[in-house]
Amino acid sequence: MNAALSPAGETAVAARSENPAVRSLTRRHYFRWWEALPWIVAVGYYFAFPDYLSFGSELLIAILFALSLDLALGYAGIVTLGHAAFFGAGAYTVGMLAYYGVWNEPITSLMLGALAAAAVGLLSGLVLLRTTGLTLLMLTLCTMALLEEAANMGHAYTGGFDGLPSLTIAPVFGLFEFNPLYANTQYLFSLGVLLPCFLFVRTLIYSPFGQSLTGIRENVLRMHAIGSPVRRRLIVCYTISAALAGIAGGLWAQTNAYVNLSALDLDRAATVLIVLILGGYGRLYGAFIGAVVYLALEHFLAELYPTAWQLGLGLLLVLIALFARNGILGLGEAIWRRVRARRNAP
């Protein structure tokens, strides 16, 4: 007999749909009104600060890169120090294709960059993700360093330390000129790349696949016990994350019209980690908050007082690690919860 047809089953279904906990669980992937805010702000920025659009593009790229790391680190719990490997793979693919005049159509070359980065992610993930903890940290770090050295060594093709300057990128859709002189085109193009990537990540993490990633992060043994293919899930997640980082890297190369070793170095990997953790990892919007706060601070402080900026950043990191483990968003959530609890209390 079908349980749903029995009277008991019907009441159970009715009770379940009225239960607020169940309701919030079944609707947790619905769009909330405030989720439109970042995009409204992004469009508003375009009109409000026409002189700072290249900074805006830099910001959007940082968000995309941090978002890709969030998928691997925040959701699947893969602690990596070498995420710039994929950023660099995408950047060098786009850069070299454009520099040697092979291919410079912006959208398809981003896809090629994503493919190249995904290939690196898949190959390294296949071997690296068997390990955890310090070993994984070291292996990701060494993989990135290996790529950096390779890019340095392949001087004849990659330009070595100096990189490849003055890339020419074809107009977007064959209509809109694409180079650093047209910051407005670059900004809108970056926004147009970030939005579908974000929607993809958002869909992914609310899918059963994304749920299993969170499960792996929280308790690997239990996921093994319920028969989840843990390693395969991690590898797929790592590859997707790498592809997104590759898109960010490709976009970086396109908007700057150059590519150099800084795309692959420890500095970049550490910065994206800091951006994500500053905003709050495993939270989808942490990448947005972190990138805005970090880049704004860096942009205005680092040029005026470079040493003080480094000191302040160090203090900030120490404070976050000690007191605000979930970043700015986590802090906001904690305050919000406290305010709500006080309001609900008689």
């Binding site: 955890t132 310090l134 070993t135 070291m138 770090l141 290996l146 390779a150 420890l266 480094q310 690690a321």
Partner: protein, 291 residues
Amino acid sequence: MNFATDFASIVLGGLSAGTVLFIVSVGLSVTMGLMGFVNLAHGAFAMFGGYVIVLAMNRAQFGFASALALGFVVTAAFSVALERLLYRRLYRSGELDQVLFTIGLIFIFIAATTILIGPSGQTLQLPPALDGQLDLGFMQYRTYSVFLIVVGAVIVLGIWLAFERTRIGAQIRATVDNRRMAESLGINVDRLFTITFAFGSGMAAIGGGLGAEFLGLDPQYPLKYLVYFLIAVSVGGLGSVLGVYFASLILGVLNFVLTFYLPKGGTLFIYALTILILLARPQGLLGRKEP
């Protein structure tokens, strides 16, 4: 003959560099093995100690040996203060928080050094007794390099004996192997950790001072050599003194030989080798515990 002496001098140079790497990293290996704490800021203690030693010699007319002793004591005391105040809050948190915290510490050290002492490198003036050439029988070689190799061998022997023969060494070994069991047997792991942390930081200070002559000493030191410290520790095996010693020597010699015979791509080979070793033995060459 020419090739043989060339090669021998390169290997000796590598061994002395590897020795410095060992002296800096050994404390990191033991503290990581004990607490599983990912302390990326270990190199900052080496820099701190190096500065204390060099400044004591250049500005306060300390002798080389007494400056080294001073560096050890000051850095050990300073690290205990940091450990008591900050590090211990993070023992139970994930390695991500630890990575973030120690990266933050590195930035603070770099910025503070730049502000207080200046961005330029410091130079260490060796005592004349160590600055000359030594006749090794088959060739002449720098006294200081030979001195470093001998000092390193003495240190590794001393630490190894302390590990194998003393009570506290036995406690450290037990805790590295199985911390919970050690705790339930009444070993005060907290105190043990503070002691090893202080000792490890003091050793790092000595390493910073001994290496200042050819590694240089500037505010970027903790970041510049971070990867090398981590490779030595992870390849050698957490908590294994001999492992770190051998890994450091191999790393030093490989680095020298490759830079000489294969100036391009030498480091590429080192990274690739590290990856291969860690894939084959995730716990490192001589590590016993699964990390």
